[in-house]
Every structure is written in C-alpha cells, then in structure tokens.
Symmetry: C2
Subunit: 329 residues, 2 copies
C-alpha cells in the first residue's frame, strides 16, 4: 500500500506492506487523514523521542475492513474516526507515562490502511464529510480538554481564543460558540478575524497589539477563560485580561517565557494557570458527541491526494493557513 | 482606650476614643489579637492604598460587650473570633473589588475595644485559649482557601508546604496533617523542620536546596499539591516537584519571578498554578469548624501586652520566629 514515510532521506510517499489484522484490532481503510503541526515537527526532528522510520498521522477517518475478533464484527463497514490516544491510563485528568499519540512510534494514518485496537474506534458523525471527520480527532480532543475541562467553558462565559489560525484554536472557538459562550479571538490576520466573526465570534484583535487586547478586556470586564498555545510576552497581557478568578489555559508555549509577569495579579485576583494537553478517551467520546449535538463542521483549508503529501506538509509551515489540511489516499 | 496607631510619627500605643455601638454592630472587648506580616508591611508603607492614621490588626478574639440591635442580644458575653473579611461579595471563589481586610481602612483589633458588624462574629472554639483563638482568623482562612479549595487537599494527597515558618504556612501544615494527608515542609531552619516532624509532618528540607527538594519529590513520585508564598527561583523547582496534574498554589510572591520556567512541563503534565488570597466568609466558617473538629491548636511564638506593641512588631520582622505573635490589651 502507499504510505507517507519519514526516514533518514526525509519525507516521501512509499510502497509499504499492508498491515495484517490481529486479535483485538481492526483494519481501517483510510478515506481522509489530516495534518497536525506535530507531524511537521516530527519531519523537522523537533519532537521528543523520534524513532525513525516514522509512518506519521494522528488524524483519520475511514471504513472498517477487517476485524480480528468475532465479537467485533459489528464494526465491519462502519465509517469511523480513530481515537489517537494510546495508553492514556486510569487517571481521567492526566495521561500515564506510557501514553503516546498515534503516528509515532505506532504507525499512523497517512496510509491506505491502518491497524488499530478496536477500542480506538468511534462512529464518524454522519453529517460530516470524510475530510471533515478525518480532521477532527487530535485537534478536537485537545480543544475539548483545554476549553471544557480546564477552561470550564459554559454559555455564561466570556472566552478569548488566541492565535485562532491554529487547528486546536479553531476547534476551541467553534465549540465555545456552539455552547453559547461569548467568544473573541486573536489573530494577526484581519481576514481570519472576519471569518471568525462570520462564524459567530463577537470580535477579534491582533495578538501583536497587547494594548488592544487589554482595552478589549476592560470593555467587557475581563475574560473568564483564555485559551492560548503561544506563551511568550503574551502571557502577561493575557493574564492582565482575565476577570477575577479567571482561567488561563496553556496547551503549548511556542514563544517561551515572558520577560515580566505580575505575580500579585495572579494571587490577589485568584487566577488559575492551567496546563492542558490532549484529552482522555472519555474526552474524545464527549468531543464527538458535542460535534454531533451542535452539528459543528470542521474548517478545511485544502485537500491533497496522499501522493502529494510533501506539498501538504510544506503548506502547514505556512502560518497563513486557516483550516485543516487533509490527505486523501 | 489604649490602641496601636500608625501615623506620620510611626507606630505608637495611644489613648483613643472607645467606639460607640451602632445598629447592626457589636462592641467586642479584645482579649487577644495577633500580628500578621500585613501589619508590619503597613507600618513600613509597603502595602497598597495606605490611609493614615491606621489602627491596625486583622486578628482578634474577645467577648461581646454591647450590641446595637435587640435581636443580636444572644451574642452578649459570648467569646468570639472576628471574621476579618469586609465586603467579600457574592462570588465564593473571589473577592469583590470593594473587598478589604479588617485593620485598614477600618479600625482593627490592636485596641481594647472594637466595633464590628454582628455578621463578622463566630463563636471561638472552646478548647482554644484567647491567644490561640485570637491568632486564628487571617492566617487560618488564607490557609483554608489555599489548601482546601485551590489545593484540593485530602487524606490521599502528598502535600508540600514551603516556608513553613510563615503564619499561613503553619496553619496549612496543621490543617493538612489533621485531615490525614502526607505532609512535607521546607524551611531554612532545621529546628523548625524538627518541630514540624514532631507535629506529624513526614519530613522536610531547606528551601535553599533545590536539588534536595527535587530528590525528595522523586522519592515519593511527586507532590500532588504545593503551597507556596515565596515565588522566585523556587517556582521552577516546585513545579518540577509536582506529580502529573499536580497543583501549585501561590498565595504570595515575596521573591518575584524565576529566571527560567519549564513551560512544557506545565502543559504536558497538565499542571495547575493557582493564585489564592484570603478566603470567603463561608471559608472562614468552614475553617473554624475544621479547627474544632480536629482540635487544632494554634502555634504561638510569644505574647506581649498591648503596651509593648512596638517590640511585637519588631519581632515579626525576625524570620526566625515560628508561631504567631500575640498582643493582649
């Protein structure tokens, strides 16, 4: 079968052996798989504990073609999305040490077929296309945990989603709007902000304009929840933009530490800084249910055939992208 | 009556007018009042929004001598502790903007008599002496909120109390031990650590020895909750010492920002950094109930007559003190 492989020679589409079905597992014929920054970071050697060769891909939708066990035959021919968690462990609040994400070291979704444990399968929401369903898993579950668990989002909350161009951020924005929260966004691109307002956001400002973020915050008496993955100088600005007892959720920190941070603001206003990453298996199920309940359509940037994976990977480096980049085998 | 006054001439004990009873209020004859660092900070001009002259004192125990309303006569001759919160507001999780602490701008407990709203009165636990009860309010409620609400302390938790010489820290240690948690402490003084171990702590290390804190943490697979008011370089060490999904509660930050901070540790291990200050009126009631349930005796350093207030204030600057410093009118 055709698959994307990252090895010493870089990223290529190669012919590899099709996986065989095993006990407790299913073979899924992939119809659509989506890129995450994680995939590009692995390509660039920037992810921890890379073991070459890698068959990347954490996101996928497909049809179950074979199952290893008689009792799992009910899954045959079902259209499914794949839960990208492996070995989350017993604590719903945090993953175990053995936890790993589908697509390194285990073989990922950027292939014609994948073998996964049957308990990783969840029926794909019927109203989503293959591309929309296939782009849901990793970003969706990460946004769900950050927004709903850590951020305690609800209809009465004022929520800021920073850097809304990112995959997780766009899901967080869509989920927050769907549940009836008042949502604002930051982006460096006015057309992205405009698109978010069309989708139901109250407004947005550039994340480069710290004083505008603070002014927006003052005009609404502070955000209850801020969802961020940049960190950097923005941390101080975003913490200043929280209402008393507000929640700042950090699911990444691409820009590092800020040079100043008002610690008195943190303790006097009883703020919470909450680290978040991925989400539990239950979060994954809850996220798919949320998507079904509110009929949330994944934002798609562009679809490539699997053979053009190099082009798709190059495109995710481009920060102007808004929406998920999808591969179709 | 005699009272401690801070004005342009500094701190003195002066004769001032005894307060008159008013509707909704009570006159309490103070039997014991305790110092907090806040009082010394006001003396040094280091507290926000100081309005001179100040009659300081947030902690006190006494007997109700007069009440303004017929319906409040049940309080007469009762031995009470005074809830130091004023105008907490409607949100149990965070104080309103109008919130202020007893003892500036309102007249505090370092006097023979005080006028307080009747709803600030809580019966003093019978098993406590006047000094022990009088030293409970501010430190007790601050420790309760930090440990029980923000820190989610319970019998199955491993908890580190940093800088255990502080008033809030000592209450947090006592409360955590009382509810059955495994408790460790940091202090720069071995005799303080020894005293804490006598009181039920599992052990302790110097907060200056960052590698020892990390080693201790590794030996017990990480702390579930850390209660800190120092901040500074210790923040990074303490965050590294948390178990996955651990809670770092900050109720002060005397040492400022750290020079480095592992942000990936925060989000990948889903850590929580929780600012905490004081506690709600309900927290105050819950705290007194906790003290009664577990018969927790306040640690007293030294008792001074009110006339020797200057000496008592000078003593709180001395970081070798372990236990509360009490004034008796």
């Amino acid at each position: 079968m055709k698959a994307v492989i990252i090895d010493e020679d870089g990223l290529q589409v190669k012919d590899v052996e099709k996986p065989q079905v095993e006990v407790g597992r299913a073979i899924v014929k992939i119809s659509a798989a989506a890129l995450n920054r994680r995939d590009q970071w692995i390509r660039e050697g920037l992810y921890p504990k890379i073991e070459l060769p890698v068959l990347p891909g954490s996101d996928g939708c497909g049809v179950v073609q074979e199952v290893g066990d008689e009792q799992d035959k009910k899954w045959l021919n079902k259209r499914v999305v794949i839960n990208p968690n492996n070995d989350w462990g017993d604590n719903p609040n945090v993953q175990a040490r053995s936890y790993h994400i589908l697509g390194m070291p285990t073989k990922g979704t950027f292939a014609e077929y994948i073998s996964v444990p049957v308990d990783r399968l969840v029926e794909a929401p019927k109203f989503l296309t293959d591309e929309e369903a296939g782009a849901l898993p990793l970003g969706g579950v990460t946004a769900y945990n950050a927004l709903m668990n850590k951020g305690q989002a609800s209809a009465d909350k004022k929520i800021l989603i920073s850097g809304v161009g990112g995959g997780v951020a766009q899901f967080a924005m869509q989920f927050a709007i769907a549940i009836g929260a008042q949502v604002w966004v930051t982006s460096s691109k006015q057309d992205v902000i405009d698109k978010c307002v069309e989708m139901g956001a109250k407004g947005g400002v550039s994340y480069k304009e710290h004083s505008e973020i603070v002014a927006l915050s003052k005009s609404i008496k502070g955000f209850d929840t801020i969802i961020d993955s940049a960190g950097g100088e923005g941390i101080d600005t975003l913490l200043k933009s929280l209402a008393p007892n507000g929640r700042y959720v950090l699911y990444g920190a691409t820009k590092g530490l800020p040079s100043t941070l008002n610690l008195r603001n943190i303790f006097w206003n009883q703020l919470a800084i909450l680290g978040s990453t991925m989400g539990s298996d239950q979060d994954f199920v809850n996220m798919v249910q949320l998507v079904e309940k509110y009929q949330i359509k994944t934002i798609i940037d562009k679809v490539f055939p699997l053979e053009r994976a190099v082009e798709a990977f190059d495109r995710i480096k481009n920060t102007k992208v808004f929406g998920k980049i999808v591969l179709r085998p």
